[in-house]
């Protein structure tokens, strides 16, 4: 007995003492921070942070190569814990979730062949891009499910991935695993600033709608009787649902697939139905809002565009202030459109809903008279956005005869300038004038500018030289005259100090869509734009932060929208829709402009650059679509079509009195008519 007890005693002693000694003898110094950070990280090794595993992420954090909040999986708490170890302050990062966009699984979607091979999405996609006719449809073999380290994804009964939001941490492993971009990460911000692209599932109505409302979505909610949810879906893309319900020319209905069978679904009346429902409840349904930040934005112009931009900026957490010259907000909606088309209580309701997002509005203050860009920037606004929209901009630029560049430094409108020249007025153009576009007239104007004292006049055209009038071709001769021609280029930005513009950035326009752009910066005192209306312009402090030179502010413009040339131009003189300068022919179009302005400002303050959107869906984009609809039973539309609309409110005259809208049974019945289309799928049992 003794020997056994002694033996185990000795064994235990030897083992523990040896280990105790070894732990000292073999002591390896390890950065206690790395150890502590490794402990704090979740240890799932998901790779969501871009490091191969949690341990290497910890090393990167400890070495200062990564910020404390890189762990998307752990969320704010882990970030805080890590931050505490590292002695950093951690700001809450917006949570992201995995989101799947396909709604017709294999089995419901149109197939090109039956696949029963390797159970892996990548393998399936290698064969003619998968078994679905739809190029962006979910393969349903669950590569995303396998990739998920947190068990948040499963393939549901209809062969589509289902996200368990309680488990999703937004690491993005599934996004990398999906060969079809079906799975995406969304945060509220991402949802607010998203634009439709050609390789995602969009219904034809959705694409036709300039604001991009998820029409099948809200009609489905109407079908289910969830009117509030329907309003919420509409408000995600359109802050003026009731106004749109009354006066929208509804280009969506032209694209409705029901047109192949009978008549389009009454999309717009349905929208008006739910928006009316919201108004009768007297309560505004507030969509989600991001955490507030401290950035103040001034919006000049309280029309639909300004209201929309303010609305989205507020939702993104900014502090927008609307400055309106007129006594009331609403712009054209209030002062131009007849009251019998758009009852004012309707307008007030929608505007009230927008203001409730946390927007300050000052009326009866006019740019050029009460303030200008520089004074606003000086007053502490981080950005000034000109959302003058459809109004005649000369009033803004030239509120008083003797001052030409009071509101926006150095900016002239060609028409004004020509008039002034013809009246032989003295205008100080500075040494270097830049004329944007303008055809043959530009050459004439350039010569006049030279006469007026400008030493160099640069004509910038987004067209290639060969398509310009022949007079422009002999650049050498023109150069001798002091006229420089810059073809295939756009004006990317204006810069200035105080009330003077001093430089203009030009960007070569590459038609192949290459965005590795070449930017040249030239000295310029004057920029002359051709149209009668101002484009949307956004001014910020140069170099991102307020920097004053004496009393004067350094400012620059940012681009309001960027896309590849195929979907439209870029540069500050192109508005969201290509080829036009701020000509919003319908309220839905100005809503789109407003939202894109908000996107640009948000990107400027977060990433610092406005990123282009490749494959943007636009009017003429090539998208796979169906040319016939099979197996759908015709049914009667519940209200008359207001036809011959071309997506232009000027020709659509809808009067609420003779057109009272849908009642609830009719709306429910009408909602049943919707085919719930996807890119090429549709519900064949309707």
């Amino acid at each position: 007995m003794l020997s056994a007890a002694l033996f185990l005693l000795v064994l235990g002693l030897v083992a523990s003492v040896a280990l105790a000694i070894a732990s000292r003898a073999f002591y390896v110094w390890e950065d206690p921070k790395v150890l502590a950070v490794t402990d704090a990280l979740p240890g799932a090794n998901c790779g969501g942070c871009g490091n191969p595993g949690c341990a290497s992420a910890a090393e990167a954090i400890a070495a200062g190569l990564a910020s404390a909040n890189i762990c998307v999986a752990g969320g704010f708490e882990v970030a805080q814990a890590v931050g505490e170890i590292m002695g950093q302050r951690v700001e809450e990062r917006e949570p992201e979730f995995s989101w799947t966009s396909c709604s017709y699984g294999v089995g419901n979607a149109e197939p090109i062949f039956s696949y029963n091979g390797a159970s892996d999405c990548h393998a399936a996609v290698m064969l003619y891009g998968g078994s679905k006719l739809c190029p962006v449809g979910c393969i349903g073999l669950g590569s995303c499910v396998k990739a998920c380290q947190f068990g948040a994804l499963a393939i549901g009964d209809d062969n589509l991935p289902v996200v368990d939001y309680s488990r999703c941490v937004g690491c993005g492993a599934c996004v990398d695993a999906c060969p079809k971009n079906i799975v995406a990460l969304v945060s509220q911000t991402r949802r607010i600033i998203s634009e439709y692209v050609t390789d995602e599932c969009t219904a034809p109505c959705q694409r036709a709608c300039p604001t991009g409302i998820h029409i099948p979505g809200y009609i489905r909610e109407i079908r289910n009787g969830n009117y509030e949810e329907a309003v919420r879906i509409i408000k995600e893309k359109c802050p003026l649902p009731l106004v749109c319900g009354y006066i929208c020319p509804a280009p969506c209905e032209l694209s409705c697939r029901r047109n192949f069978v009978d008549e389009a679904v009454a999309i717009d009346p349905l929208k008006r139905f739910v928006a009316d429902h919201e108004m009768t409840t007297g309560k505004h349904i507030d969509p989600y809002k991001c955490t507030d930040n401290e950035i103040k934005i001034a919006l000049v112009g309280g029309g639909s565009e300004g209201l929309t931009a303010a609305y989205y900026l507020a939702r993104l957490g900014y502090q927008p202030t609307i400055l309106e010259a007129k006594p009331e907000l609403g712009g054209i909606l209030r002062y131009v459109i007849a009251e019998d088309r758009l009852p004012r209580n309707v307008l007030d309701h929608d505007i009230q809903g927008i203001l409730e997002m946390g927007i300050e509005a000052n009326t009866n203050v006019a740019m050029g008279r009460d303030f200008d860009v520089c004074s606003l920037l000086k007053d502490g606004y981080d950005a000034v956005v000109v959302t003058s929209g459809g109004f005649d901009s000369r009033k803004i630029l030239k509120p008083e005869q003797e001052r030409y560049d009071a509101a926006i430094p150095g900016l002239f409108i060609m028409l004004d300038l020509l008039t002034a020249f013809s009246q032989r007025e003295e205008i100080h153009l500075g040494k270097h004038a830049v004329i944007a576009n303008g055809g043959l007239k530009a050459l004439e104007l350039a010569r006049k500018c030279r006469d007026m004292g400008a030493e160099i006049v640069t004509i910038v055209s987004d067209q290639p030289l060969s398509t310009l009038p022949v007079d422009f071709h002999d650049t050498k001769v023109l150069a001798e005259e002091g006229i420089e021609v810059r073809a295939s280029a756009t004006v990317a930005a204006m810069r200035g100090i105080g009330e003077r513009m001093d430089r203009i950035a030009l960007e070569d326009k590459d038609l192949t869509g290459d965005i590795s752009k070449k930017r040249t910066i030239i000295d310029a005192d004057t920029l002359i734009v051709p149209a009668g209306r101002l484009p949307e312009m956004a001014f910020v402090h140069a170099a991102g932060k307020p920097e004053t030179e004496g009393e004067r502010v350094r400012w620059q413009t940012i681009e309001t929208f960027r896309t590849f040339p195929k979907g439209g131009g870029y540069g500050i003189l192109s508005s969201p829709e290509p080829g036009r300068i701020s000509d919003s022919s319908a309220v839905v179009k100005s809503i789109l402009s407003g939202r894109r302005l908000a996107r640009a400002i948000h990107q400027n303050f977060t990433d610092g650059t406005i990123t282009p959107i490749p494959n943007l869906v636009w009017e003429a984009a090539d998208i796979l679509d169906v040319t016939e609809v099979n197996g759908v039973n015709p049914s009667e539309r519940q209200c008359p079509t207001v036809s011959d609309v071309e997506g232009d409110s000027k020709t659509a005259w809808i009067f609420p009195e003779e057109y009272p809208g849908l009642d609830e049974p009719a709306a429910r019945q009408e909602a049943e008519r919707c085919l719930q289309c996807g890119l090429i799928c549709y519900d064949k049992n309707t």
Binding site: S3, L19, A22, A25, F26, V28, S119
Partner: protein, 199 residues
């Protein structure tokens, strides 16, 4: 030459995993991917060799002289547990690259019954010291071989339409069974080889 037969026998015929049923938990756990399989295999070879040698000494220098054979189990497991921890610290100090490669597998090995099993088998089969060491290396190599083969197949099965209920461990077990079946072809090879070497 005897050792060749011992090795062939331990790797192919009495494969520790496929015929002796030892070490199945890590076998199924780490055979999903090739790189983890290789790492685990190397760690097992390393630890099993050292553990067998040390426990052999403990058995024959301590337990047998003291007539404490019945404490074999408790003595061995203590020695192995301490040893694994010791090796972990040692590697970390003196061979950091090896530690990085094998480190995460080392704790798994403490509860790997193949290590304790091999140590006990050496004693039960009355091997001498060199035989025990060779046997340990060979057994661990057999483990590694089976692990790598299974990992190759399971990597491929990842993309197959394996019926849902079978996915994961179930199909791993069935595949291990089929591997064991294939290894049955070697039955008798050790005997003939021994004869062959002698002639």
């Amino acid at each position: 030459m005897e050792y060749i037969v011992l090795v062939i026998s331990a790797v192919l015929i009495k494969n520790i995993l496929l015929a002796e049923y030892l070490g199945n938990c890590p076998f199924l756990g780490t055979s999903k991917r090739m790189d983890t399989a290789v790492g685990m295999g190397l760690a097992v070879i390393f630890v099993m060799t050292i553990a067998t040698a040390v426990t052999y000494v403990v058995q024959h220098m301590v337990l047998v002289p003291l007539n404490l054979g019945y404490l074999q189990t408790i003595a061995f497991i203590l020695v192995i547990a301490a040893l694994v921890q010791f090796v972990e610290m040692f590697l970390r100090k003196f061979a950091p690259p090896l530690y990085v490669a094998l480190g995460i597998f080392l704790p798994l090995i403490t509860t790997n019954c193949a290590v304790l099993g091999t140590a006990i088998l050496c004693i039960r089969r009355d091997m001498n010291f060199p035989e025990a060491v060779v046997f340990a290396i060979a057994s661990a190599s057999g483990f590694t071989l089976a692990l790598i083969l299974l990992a190759g197949i399971r990597e491929r099965l990842e993309i197959s339409n394996v019926p849902r209920a079978l996915r994961g461990t179930a199909i791993g077990l069935i595949m291990a069974g089929l591997m064991s079946l294939a290894f049955f072809g070697f039955v008798g090879v050790d005997g003939s080889l021994k004869e062959f070497i002698q002639n």
